[in-house]
Structures are given as C-alpha cells and as structure tokens.
Symmetry: C2
C-alpha cells in the first residue's frame, strides 16, 4: 500500500497539508499530525484533487458543516443541483455531498466539483444501484465487482470522502428484526444494502471485503465515512440494539482501517430525543476510539416536518457541545421533498448556528472572542460591526432595513425605550443634574 498522510504523521513528517490545516485552525502542525496519527483528525482531500484546500475535521478543530445536494430519479434538474452546491458553499458549508441518483452521474459529479471547490463526499452504492437498475432491471442483481468498480471510479475522479455502509451486516439486521422497530431502516444506502443482502442471502460485500475498500482508499488517501445504516428514523427507535450493534462493528472497522493508515470518520444518528444526544456522542467516541463523529441532525422530535432545520439545529448544537465534529445539515424540506435553493441556504445557516453554539459551550477561544466582539458591537450600537460579525450578514442587514427606526442608533423593537439607550441617556441626565447642584 502507498504511504498515506497517517503514515507520514506517524513518522513525524509535517506536510504542507498539515501546516495549512494548522494555520486555518490556529493550532500547531504537531497537533494536527498527532491527531492524524491517532485517527482523531482527518484531512479530507483525495490526492488527485489538488485544486481545493485541505480541510481538517476532528478533535480540537472547529466544527464543520456538510450540505447534501443531488438529483433524484424523479427530479433531474442538474443546473438546479449545481446552483444548490454553489449556494451551500457561499452560505458557509465546508463540504458538499453529491447524492445524485438520476442522470449521468459521473458527469454530474465532475460538475459539482467545479461548482463547489470544497471536499466532495459521495455514496458510491447509489450509483452502483442506479447502474444495476439500468443494466439488470433490479439493483439486487448488482455484483460485488460492479460495486467496487463504482467505488474505484469515484476515487479516481477525485472524491474526497466516501460514505460506505459497511456496518450493515446480517448479524445486525437479524437483531433489528428480532427486537422490532417503529421505522426499521431509514438510511437510503443502508436500506438498499439490506435489501440486496436479503435478496441474495449474502452478507454485505462492503463488510466482507472491507480490505478491498481500505486498499482503494489508501491509494487516493481518501477518507472512509462509515455510514450508519441502522440510524434511528424515529425518536422511539433511538439508541437501540441495532444502532449500538452497528456502532460496535464500525469501531472494529475503524480500528482496522486506521492500522492500515486509512482515515476514517463515523456517521451517527438521526432521530434522537434530546436527553440521549450526549450519550450517543459519548458512545461513538468511546467505541470508535475518538474518530471524528459526523452527525445527521440529530433531530430531537419527529413532530416538526417543515422545520427540521430547527429540530436538527437543537440536536446538532447539543451534539457539537458533547464532541461531535462534523454536522450534516438538515433542510426545512427534510421528510417532505427535495430541498430547493432557499432550503439549502436555511439548512446551512441552521447548522452553522448549531456549530457556533457548540463551540461556545466547549469554550473554543476563536468563537468566544467573536461572541465578545458581537456583544460589544451591540453595546456600542455599531450596526455595521454587528452585520459583519453575524453568521448571515445579508439577512441581518435586510431585516433591520425593512423597518428602520426613527432614531438611527436603536431598532424599531423598543424605539426610544431601548434598554441600551435608556442607560446611556440616564447616565447623561444624572451627570447634568449633578452638575447643576
């Protein structure tokens, strides 16, 4: 196997990439190298993809956001999906996942890389299933070699991280069926894999041939993002036997890949009541040896379709505080339809809020300083500074502009009874009164 950045880190080589990540994070290159060597940090960049900046994800680093885009077989508006990718990056997403299942998938992937010059993630099983559906008329007739061909295609085309549902095994599937669940599986890749396994009466090739995957990833120094096929799809299914059993498998695979010098992230739930979020992070960190944790949401209630960016921001903030490293955005369209451009923007912003709330709760110095600057700008009624420091300057400026106050220094909410103005005025009045007497 070729030398990966984990091998380099273990030899104490501080590469340009490690130095670049260290600068971005305001940390030492030694810290980054140590994190890489231990598997606590990944740098997501395929070694074929030198046109993008390397991105660090993991322990001690700022929290990162991913935005999913992609065609479905129903909705094949490629230009629309590229626009979403651009909007996501503009709004502050650090990575994009192309989850397309409809159209010329390799061509779309290439276009997404151009539109979004950030690390790209994919789920190769989708393309494998789509190809098999076209070729064999059922994705269940997909062969193992066809699957690995697609994976190699993705890596050769420069994909930086691959979501692979290696933990969907017959052993876990049986356990899920025996215990019973409200929603069974809701992971698209997980459900496709399970369906393939049931039909073929065979275990998951991504599990049985995990070494093939490790070898391919090493060749491109790509990151394996171990998907959670059994992630709960209902708050009532959270933290159950199937989820935990899969997590144990993912920890075993993570350990094995790390030994081979391959970077691993682990994906996590899903639909999780608020009181279980912290435990979920702790379990992932413990069972997967502090590998970076990539969470989808978590969504803390099932009752708010149309607002899942908010339910996801609640769960994401608490997960980030507890140690999650990478938040997959959830848009207001979740559970209802393919998101549009505005949904994408709202989803990224909600995740950024969750990330910042988590960073502040963890006491991350950069975030704390930015908070103080914002608070001071508010105290000084310095509106321009407030807009500049805001997560979304455009929206902040726009909203105030819609109803400008009579007195420029305040806002139309309290007008002349603005608490800040009242205090400033009272001090002046008191001084004037004292001067008179």
């Amino acid at each position: 196997m070729n030398e990966t950045r984990i091998h380099q880190a273990r030899k104490g080589i501080l590469t340009d990439e490690m130095q670049a990540v260290a600068r971005q994070e305001n940390l030492s290159p030694e810290f980054i190298a140590e994190g890489l060597a231990k598997g606590h940090i990944v740098i997501t960049r395929n070694n074929k993809r030198t046109d993008i900046a390397p991105l660090g994800i993991g322990k001690g680093l700022s929290i990162k956001i991913n935005a999913n885009i992609g065609t479905s077989r129903d909705l094949l508006d490629i230009e629309g999906e590229l626009e979403k990718a651009r909007v996501a990056v503009e709004a502050g997403a650090h990575t994009v996942m192309d989850l397309s299942t409809g159209g010329d998938l390799p061509a779309i992937r290439k276009d997404v890389m151009k539109a979004a010059p950030v690390p790209l993630g994919t789920v190769p099983f989708y393309e494998a299933a789509a190809r098999a559906l076209d070729k064999h008329s059922s994705f269940c007739l997909l062969t193992e070699d066809e699957l690995f061909d697609v994976i190699e295609d993705h890596l050769a085309s420069g994909v930086d991280f691959l979501t692979v549902h290696c933990g969907v095994t017959l052993g876990t599937l049986g356990r899920m069926e025996k215990e019973g669940r409200i929603m069974d599986m809701v992971s698209r890749g997980g459900a496709l894999t399970a369906a393939w396994m049931r039909y073929n009466e065979k275990d998951n090739p991504l599990f049985t041939s995990f070494d093939r995957l490790v070898e391919l990833s090493a060749r491109y120094d790509a990151t394996l993002s171990l998907g959670d096929g059994f992630r709960p799809g209902a708050t009532g299914d959270a933290t159950d036997r199937a989820q935990l059993h899969e997590l144990i498998t993912l920890g075993e695979l993570q350990q094995h890949a790390l030994e081979q010098g391959v970077q691993v992230m682990v994906e996590g739930p899903g639909h999780v009541p608020l009181d279980q979020v912290q435990a979920n992070v702790l379990l992932q960190k413990r069972l997967c040896h502090e590998a970076p944790f990539y969470v989808l949401g978590p969504l803390v209630t099932d009752l708010a379709p149309g607002y899942d960016h908010i339910t996801g921001a609640i769960g994401g903030a608490v997960a980030a505080w507890a140690g999650a490293d990478f938040l997959c955005y959830v848009t207001p369209a979740e559970h209802l339809r393919l998101p549009d451009v505005d949904d994408v923007r709202q989803g990224v912003m909600a995740s950024r809020i969750a990330a910042v709330a988590g960073e502040l709760a963890r006491g991350m110095p950069g975030t704390r300083e930015r908070e103080h600057k914002m608070s001071k700008a508010r105290r000084m009624q310095d509106w321009d500074a407030q807009y500049e420091l805001a997560i979304d300057p455009t929206v902040a400026r726009g909203r105030r502009g819609e109803a400008p106050p009579a007195d420029e220094s305040v806002c139309s909410m309290c007008g002349e009874f603005c608490a800040i103005k009242v205090q400033n005025d009272a001090k002046e009045a008191k001084a004037a009164k004292t001067a008179k007497t």
Copy 2:
C-alpha cells in the same frame, strides 16, 4: 386580603378552575391543588376575566409558550399588533404579552384581550413610564403612587399576569457596576427602573413596597411574574454576580408572596451559552423554591441576528428539558426590528418545537405517544396522518405539495430509492423469489 386559589388549595378545595386545568393536562385535580399550594404551579387567570379558559403553568404540566406583541412609540400600527396577537394564538401560543408603549395603552390592551382570548401579561412599568414621559417630560419623574395606579389599572382591566422587575435593587445595581459587564442591562423594564433609581437616588418602589404589589395581586388573584432586570444580554455576561444576586432577591420575594397566597412565576435569561443553560434552570428552581420558570430563549449565541428564533429554540429546548415551564418566544426579528406577522408565526413555531423536544426528553407521556403516532404514520407513508400530527400542518402540507413526487407514496427527496419503499419492495421481491423456487 381576599381568598386566593392558593388559600383554597391549601384548604383542600378543588375548584372548577383546578378541575379544568387537571382535565387539560390529563392529571388529577389533587395534583394541581398541591402544586398551587406549594407554589410549583400557577393558574394564570385574573378573577375579573371569566371569558377565557384558566391556564396552568408549572411543575409536571406541559410546557407553555408566550408571544409578545405591542406597539412602540416609533411604530403605532394597532391593527397590525392585533393581527399579530391573533396569529400567535392561532399558531399555538398559550399566552400573549402586550408590551405596547405607544398609543392609547388601555384601549390597546382591551383590544388585545378581545383579539387573543388567552391569558394576558403586561409590564405596567412601560405604561407608567410612557405616562410620565407625556406628563412630566421624563419618565424619571414618575412617582411611586403613579406607578401603583397603573398597576391597579392593569389588574382592574383583567390582566392575568404582571411582569414586575422587583429584583432591580440598588444593592444589585452596585454589584453589577463594580464587577462590570459587556452589555450592562438589556431588560427594557429593568433598564428603565435602574435609570429611575439612579436619577432619584432611591431604591426600586416595586422592591421597597412589594407588599402593595402583593396585596393588589391577591385582590385579582393575578400572577406576579418576577422579571429579571439583570438578565444577561451577552453570552459573556451569563450567570454572573448581578444575575445571581437578583435571583436570590427574587427567591426571597417569591417566598413572601407565596406566604400571602399570591401566585408567582420567575423570569430567566436571556443570552446563555449552551453549557450554562441547565445550571441556570437548576439555580432558579432551587433559589425560588420550584416556582414556575419562565425563560426568554435562552439564546445560546450572539452571532445569529436574523435567526434568533433558532438560537432561542436551541436554548429553550435544553431549558425545557432541564425543567423550565414556560418559554417566551423569540422571533427572527429579535435585535433588529419590531417583528412582523410572519416573524410572530415563526417565533411561536420555533418555541413549540423547543417545548416538544423538552417534553420528549423529560419523558412526558402525551408527547411520547404523539411522537410514536407520527413515526408510525411515516412508516405507513400515511401523509394525511403526518400532516395532522405535525406542529404546523399548513407548512408541512405546503412544502410537500410544491414538488410532488412521481410515486404518491414517497417524497421527491429520494424518489424510488426511498428507504421505506425499498424495504417494503425488497420484502415482496424476496417473497416472490421464494415462491418461485
């Protein structure tokens, strides 16, 4: 003093009101009476206001939402504010606070009560300050009697709960000044009171004459909502000496009012980093003897103006989980301008999401059942049941309708690769294959 519902509860009388609240909450009247007697539950209804249903707030009850509306002296669109009150109640707000400071305030209050047939809260100091501004040209020249006249007017007109900043004392003010703060005071009522105190070199009449307040409240069986004038207005000011010193005072006043048979809620922060939210709830519950806790947000970051309904939902969910009983909504307009009708609707929905997330985390049976029903409806791809169970059926239905999928059973996000559909189909395919062999 006349007999209040606390006195009745202590005698073991189970009034119609207690029975009504018990039915709403699916609890026994004895539980409600015991909560009232101990001050853990309040029933917010002025005894002059028999046209609305009584509302229980406090320990063991479902979490309630308040929406603020009101004119400012800059923006005097009374019909607009009434529309906001109507929209807030339609969206699910349990109470409305009229925080008007501009226009004919008693007339506006009367109209709000008609528009929003739910318990009404006010901050009498605003009207007192507005009257003094008109009469004396400075609110600092307000007299104690004038202030209590306004309070009596509010109660006589049927106001159900009064926010009174009784804990803004010279002792706490001095402490805040000595320690220093980024934002000083951001509570409008608190800042006005402090300015009055500084100007007049006198302590707060709502503190020094607290018994006058207690007596008036008892007469109308209204609830005192002890305001937190020193609530932090910056995440960096959270949980500081001034805030805690005021909370100690509020606990003393709560104890005294409770002894006199007067219902008390206590208001809480504000801008609080996520890691301090739980501690804030614990401190309030301990220092104020488990009086109902009414929180504003908390906002877990200062960096998201334009999205403070989301920062508030994050803090509100964690506070609700930790034991907060009553959430004051925060709208996307917070810190920027007076909210419009759409902001009000979004603010209420975000708070409802926080409340449900908190209830689920606490394991409240009604919420847990509703979650399970929703998850099952999703599993069955029963869209009508999903809309019906959704916090906001209109938005859920509307969003899916914007991009209907080719296959009616799924949504356009995953189309035919819908995880639920894939599993159902795979089971059928497997059965067909088995039947053939």
